[in-house]
Symmetry: C2
Subunit: 79 residues, 2 copies
Amino acid sequence: MKIAVNVHLKKGVLDPQGKAVLHALETLGFTDVKDVRVGKQIIIDIDTADKKKAIEEAKKMADELLANPVIENYEIEVK
Amino acid sequence: MKIAVNVHLKKGVLDPQGKAVLHALETLGFTDVKDVRVGKQIIIDIDTADKKKAIEEAKKMADELLANPVIENYEIEVK
C-alpha cells in the first residue's frame, strides 16, 4: 500500500525556494500566481493491506524521521 | 485556487534520497517498508476561480520550469 507524506514548512516560516520559484514563474509570464510553497512528497510503499495500520505507521514515521516538527507540518494521503 | 504539482523521479531513475530514508526507517524499526521515493510537492496559489484554467496553467508551469522531463514525472492535484 502506497502512502504519501507531504511535508511543508509551517505558515510564517520563510520558504526561500518557494520565493525563487514564484519569481521565476513571474519572469516566464505567469503573472497571476499569488504564492508558491515548495515541500517534499515522500511516497512510502508499506507491505500491508490494512489501510488504517498503514496510515498510523506513516504518521509515526513522519513524527520520528520525515518532518521537523519545529518548522514543518505534514499531511498523510493514501495513494 | 491552490494547485499542487507533485514531481517525482521516473521509475528506473535511482533515487538516493529515497534509499537513505528507507535505510533510516529500517534502522528505526519500520521493517515492513518495501520502498521509498522522495519527490517535491509544489503548491501554487493561482489567482483564478476557473479550475480547468488553473490546471492547464499549472501544467504549463511544470513543463516550463518545475519538472525536468528527462528524469522526472509530475502529476497535478487540486488542493
